[in-house]
């Protein structure tokens, strides 16, 4: 009875407040919409011109026309209207969007939609799409070590596309212009071409040039260790330097920690450990024990596909890592983003990282002043080991190629875009505007070198012949799934060293054995 009495009241009360509520909901929706739309409209990319490129763009067109072949009258080719979807990693997204805008200016009938997805979302999405032959994406960025699995899933053979459509092949394509190692590793599978290199990338050791060059700091270092302060060439040296720059050990240190390390259980682990394992594997002693490097098996395996690190060499690498851990802010809880912040906020003196953080560091450490950034951010080769009187440094390689979906409904247009995005002019623009190192050797010129940071450019060029590689086999994803957590357990000491390495090696060996080497 009580309930019946109450109900009419609430009902009538809510009638007028109902209108208010409706207004509130409407208001909320509209607010959200306005914010979103305004941001979208204002933020619509127009020409972004950072300080460097104004004069440079003119030089680009000049040099381009000077060294390239005059295009035949049938170029650019005419293609049917199409609408392409490009699935891109966030690293490449801005550059590709820029390329898309310029591309559409040349081919107005082809619209290009660039969709960025985070790495974790991108990879399964690509595989799923290729496997199911949906053709939802026409072009996508291939992370180099996933080449095996995307080829198996249905990535298109670009040689075949070119052979079947000679009219869309750019006369200035010049495949030999692509840096050989990257092209081989990131695009060639079983002798056929499956991608065009768009973003060759590998790791460097960044360091605070201003601190390393400070005479007081240098004097301190000399008195504490008896050695001269310099960016470390080996991991052994690195331990000393990192220790020096950690406030806990050395109150006079200008930074709180020596080095920003990242060992999280994400796919970062899989490549990061190679910075320590690679030099051992490719040292003269290593090569004599394990054979020459095989591009399919990578640096975790011997030349005939045996996982090699369940031994003293492997233990040695892990111990080198463990010795560095105390001088790093948060090794197990840090991934890309965290270590970039740590170096960029001045918390650490060194940071092993890829090429791209440079832009954000220029902003946080030098207030966006590129000239000033050159004197603050130093770039050197990733440390390695000393073996048989040589210094062996092997930063891990990565990077992206442009691949084409085997089930794409517009393969001609897709190829045209991929080719355009990796052409000589676009390759150089990507470096100047987006800090994506040039994939083409013709773009390694004075202008590129001077553009951002000569250190970066020089080290990039030098390291191209000294890289370590992840396995490209089709079982690579499974290796990651098992390996990422296990590596951390080993490094953190949660699993005993020899047992842990053996378990991991056995699990990986089981996977590698399933691979059929082409």
């Amino acid at each position: 009875m009580e309930k019946e009495k109450d109900k009419p009241k609430t009902n009538s009360g809510s009638a007028s407040s109902g209108r208010r509520d409706f207004l509130k909901i409407g208001g909320g929706l509209v607010a959200g919409l306005i914010i979103g739309a305004a941001a979208g409209w204002v933020g619509k990319p127009t020409e972004i011109t950072p300080p460097v490129t104004e004069t440079v763009t003119q030089t680009i067109t000049q040099t381009a026309s000077a060294t390239t072949v005059a295009p035949p009258p049938t170029w650019p080719p005419s293609v049917e209207p199409a609408s392409l979807t490009v699935l891109s990693s966030p690293d490449c997204a801005d550059a590709l969007k820029y390329a898309a805008d310029v591309f559409t200016a040349t081919y107005p009938k082809v619209s290009v939609d660039v969709v960025p997805l985070s790495w974790e979302a991108l990879y399964p999405k690509i595989l799923q799409d290729l496997q199911s032959k949906t053709g939802a994406y026409d072009v996508f960025t291939i992370d180099v070590m996933t080449l095996g699995s995307v080829v198996a899933a249905g990535s298109a053979n670009i040689d075949n596309i070119r052979a079947a459509n000679p009219d869309i092949v750019d006369p200035n394509l010049d495949l030999s212009d692509f840096e050989k190692g990257y092209f081989q590793y990131g695009s060639i599978w079983a002798g056929a071409d499956y991608g065009l290199p768009v973003y060759p990338n590998h790791m460097f050791l960044y360091y605070r040039k201003d601190y390393f060059g400070d005479p007081k700091v240098q004097a301190n270092y000399k008195s504490m260790t008896g050695k001269d302060l310099a960016p470390p060439a080996t991991w052994q040296d690195c331990i000393d330097v990192a220790k020096f720059f950690t406030k806990k050990n050395n109150p006079s240190s200008p930074t709180q920690y020596g080095i920003a390390l990242m060992f999280p259980t994400t796919h970062t682990m899989m490549y990061n450990v190679l910075n320590w394992l690679g030099p051992i594997r490719q040292s003269p002693t290593g090569v004599s024990k394990y054979g020459a490097l095989d591009y399919y098996y990578g640096d975790f395996c011997t030349s005939d596909g045996k996982v090699w690190f369940a031994n003293d060499d492997g233990a040695n690498a892990v111990e080198m890592i463990q010795a560095l851990l105390p001088y790093s802010p948060d090794p197990f809880g840090s991934d890309y983003g965290e270590t970039v912040t740590q170096f960029g906020a001045g918390t650490t003196a060194m940071a092993p990282q890829w090429s791209v953080p440079y832009g954000s560091w220029a902003t946080t450490l030098a207030g966006g002043d590129l000239e000033k950034a050159k004197s603050i951010i130093g770039v050197s080769m990733m440390p390695g080991i000393s073996d048989s009187g040589q210094i062996v440094q092997r930063p891990v390689s990565g990077g992206w190629s442009m691949g084409i979906n085997g089930s794409s409904k517009s393969p001609r247009q897709a190829y045209l875009f991929a080719q355009f995005a990796t052409s000589k002019t676009m390759d150089k623009t990507h470096w100047l505007k987006f800090v994506m190192p040039p994939a083409r050797t013709s773009n390694w010129d004075e202008e590129s070198r001077a553009a951002l940071n000569p250190d970066l450019f020089d080290t990039y060029k030098k390291s191209l012949s000294q890289l370590s590689y992840r396995p490209r086999i089709t079982q690579e994803p499974d290796m990651e799934r098992l390996g990422n957590p296990l590596w951390q357990d080993i490094i953190a000491g949660r699993k005993p060293l020899t047992d842990g390495l053996k378990t991991l090696a056995d699990q990986w060996q089981a996977l590698v054995d399933q691979f059929k080497h082409p």
Binding site: K7, T10, N11, S14, D21, K24, I25, G27, G28, L29, A31, G32, L33, I35, G36, A39, G40, V42, G43, K44, P45, I48, P50, T85, L87, P90, D91, A93, D94, K97, D113, V115, P116, L117, S118, W119, A121, K125, Q128, S132, T134, A136, Y137, Y336, G337, V340, T341, A345, T347, W354, V356, P357, G359, S360, A362, T363, T364, G368, K433, F434
Partner: protein, 283 residues
């Protein structure tokens, strides 16, 4: 009235204050970060009252990058989320009210049917993600709103039905019988008698369905490819790049994601409370 409360006022208000702070702080931090300059995102000590604010995270600025450091392109995703969310909520409410009425009044299917309905909700979305993808692909539904709506309906309807059954059971049979005496058929009884009385409960399930559809991530990722149909949760993932996690823009996107549903929920809250109050307590 105060004597009905546990613990002294001081203690009580202090505890309440702690709880409110805990609830609010993360939201405050997110809103703050959206307006901070990039160098302040991770300043030390953390900046709680920033001296300088910027709109850069919303409209874009910064060295060379634009797609991944601003809210450019968010509009289509917002639209998709709204469409899918509202459609799911509306449809699931519609279906579940009818179903719940049927079960409550006519015992359709008995306890087994109810159990089955509930058990649908147990299905971990991961398990069926790929098979669903393959199935939808066969029907040409990939990258459409319908795909998302259909799959969300499965989960939303099950939950809503279950809750509404309890609501409807609360409405005394005498009202039904009264309506019957006046010559109303079952459907009219439903419209005129049951529905108005259970409006709060209906509002509650509508809101909860909308919330769930709005924040769902996995199926949105699997079943959609681009801005034609992708929803906000997938959109947010794009800011996690290799060189930085763009916390400012992520926060900005977070605000846009959060505003509509939060405001809606607050509004519906009153209905929900009254509904639950008059609703499911038994014993």
């Amino acid at each position: 009235m105060k004597r009905t409360l546990p613990a002294k006022p001081i203690v009580r208000y202090f505890l309440i204050l702690c709880a409110m702070a805990f609830s609010l702080f993360p939201v405050y931090w997110m809103v703050l970060t959206a307006f901070k300059r990039p160098q302040d995102w991770f300043a030390w000590p953390p900046i709680f009252f920033p001296q300088s604010l910027t709109l850069a995270s919303f409209i874009g600025a910064g060295y060379n990058v634009y797609v991944t450091t601003s809210l450019a392109d968010v509009a289509p995703y917002l639209r998709n989320s709204i469409v899918v969310g509202l459609a799911t909520a509306a449809l699931s409410t519609f279906i579940s009210t009818l179903a719940a009425y049927s079960i409550s009044r006519f015992r359709t299917g008995g306890i087994n049917f109810v159990n089955w309905i509930l058990s649908v909700r147990f299905l971990p979305p991961i398990a069926v993600a790929i098979p669903v993808f393959v199935l939808f692909h066969a029907f040409g539904l990939i990258n459409t709103w319908s795909a998302l709506i259909i799959i969300y309906l499965v989960f939303a309807t099950s939950f809503s039905t279950w809750v509404l059954i309890a609501f409807f059971n609360d409405i005394p049979r005498e009202l039904d019988e009264a309506a019957l005496v006046e010559g109303a058929g079952p459907f009219q009884t439903f419209l005129r008698v049951i529905l108005p009385l259970s409006l709060p409960g209906v509002a509650a399930v509508f809101t909860l369905s909308l919330l769930n559809a709005w924040s769902e991530f996995l199926f949105a990722l699997v079943l959609t490819n681009n801005a034609n149909a992708q929803t906000l949760p997938v959109y947010i993932g794009r800011y996690i790049t290799g060189f930085q996690i763009a916390w400012g823009p992520i926060s900005a996107a977070g605000i846009v994601s959060m505003l509509p549903v939060t405001i809606l929920s607050f509004v519906m809250l009153r209905y929900v409370i009254t509904g639950l109050t008059l609703g499911a307590v038994k014993g």
